[in-house]
Amino acid sequence: MANKVLMKGNEAIAEAAIKAGCKHYFGYPITPQTEIAAYMAKKMPKIGGTFLQAESEIAAINMVYGVSSAGYRVMTSSSSPGISLKSEGLSYLAGADLPAVVINVQRGGPGLGDIQPSQSDYFQATRGGGHGDFHMIVLAPGSVQEMASLTVKGFELADKYRMTAMILADGTMGQMMEPVELDFDVAPAPEKPWATNGTKMQRKHNITNSLSLVPEELEKFNFARYERYKLIEETEALCEEYLMDDAEIAVTAYGIASRVTKNAVDEARKMGIKVGLIRPITVWPFPKAPYEKAAEKVNHIITVELSMGQMIEDVMLATKCKVPVTLCNRAGGMIPSVEQVLEEIKKYAKRGE
């Protein structure tokens, strides 16, 4: 406990990024993630790094593109509407195989929506996040500690696979404070022989590019990229299982929804209901194995989401619809209560009897 400090999730992300060797940050103000920019504005000048408030989210993601292309660790952050603006850049980063870390502290949508917590950008994040065939690695923190540790992991994975790693958080995760420990063993950035940082007349010139006008070649690039994605799906999926050993009902949720769900599971257990929680930590790659396992033994799965039901599709795919999967949700910036989730669990516990 001695090394723990109390920090907002947003600040924990910013500090973890700096610890991970990120010396360049570009952002644009938008609630509920602006603390990240404020923290970076304070810290970056002191460590000889760059903080720049860009003229737009579009400019910010393209500044990220420039720094990444030059071979440095770099980050930007925003909230839902701002991520939509960045989606052009996300696609170009993918097309040029550039590593970057992008934070989405989700708020209610669509459109300008509201500024309360939401998980309704799940499709946008896990299905690519822009035009064209691509994926981002998407990490879904369930605590302030994970806001920090998954940010560090995001930098490592981004460099390892030359991809964007997105932290898919929400307003609650960004705004809440919890004790957090910030001592990390950070894997140093790998050599980047592809970087456009000047040839120094020592090598052939490098080109960062996502244009490929010959379809046969572009297809080849896409196939190769998806080979890499396959490897990531096989090796990088992360998940926490809670009281699943003897569970007859599984509830599944990530981020803030998983926190509410954990309380509901505990309450239900007190009533003698055999229920457990599956909490994905990576939502792309989606951790299919625990769901496949659950599908063999539980008689019902409930997904708890702050959306109209997005992760539920991945759960159905992972379980191949072997068991019924139903949604327990709030939307538009509302958060399901422990009671709501508990009622849902009780509903299916009765049915099972």
Binding site: Q175, M176, R259
Partner: protein, 179 residues
């Protein structure tokens, strides 16, 4: 396993978020698990402000507080809004110099502290919040402990070190106050 849920609520500018932060830090200093969640958005720009603090021996699930064990109400709208949510047997501490009605619930422990008046009488008009916190800790039997000193050092930045003693004094005034 003990878990206590505190809800602080009042006007923006009353130090609501700071009081909650103090309590959360106190929990951390005492090696507990803690969470602190503010209301955020337009209301933090001058309207009502609130934050929820959970202190627990065990792990904390949701940081969202629907049913507080303790409500600290610094204005009437806060009391009106949250009185009914407090758990039966819970506590409501309120600033009686700003709230001119009594707590209607009979199944909760109501504590009246004229914090704003005490603050201005003692030349510390911005510290009504800490007077209330002092009272709250006294109720929990926690005055004058080393943990409080240590916590104050954590929540008050070095730049404002001169505020340390006056915060302590405010908490003492709250602790000493008898209805």
């Amino acid at each position: 396993m003990k878990t206590t849920k505190y809800l602080f609520s009042g006007f923006g500018g009353q130090g609501i978020l700071f009081s909650g932060k103090f309590l959360a830090y106190k929990g951390l200093t005492a090696d507990k698990n803690v969470s602190w969640l503010p209301s955020y958005g337009p209301e933090m720009r001058g309207g009502t402000a609130s934050c929820g603090v959970i202190i627990s021996d065990g792990s904390i699930g949701s940081p969202i507080i629907d049913k507080p064990d303790v409500l600290i109400a610094m204005n009437l709208p806060s009391l009106d809004k949250y009185e009914s949510t407090v758990v039966s047997g819970g506590t409501i501490v309120l600033d009686s110099s700003l709230i001119d009605r009594k707590v209607e619930r009979t199944d909760v422990n109501a504590v009246y502290v004229p914090a704003t008046r005490l603050a201005s009488e003692n030349g510390m008009p911005t510290l009504a919040n800490m007077i209330i916190v002092g009272k709250l800790l006294a109720l929990e039997g926690e005055t004058g402990s080393e943990i409080i000193d240590e916590t104050l050092k954590k929540v008050i930045s070095a730049k404002h070190a001169d505020m340390l003693e006056v915060n302590k004094k405010a908490m003492q005034i709250g602790a000493d106050y008898k209805e």
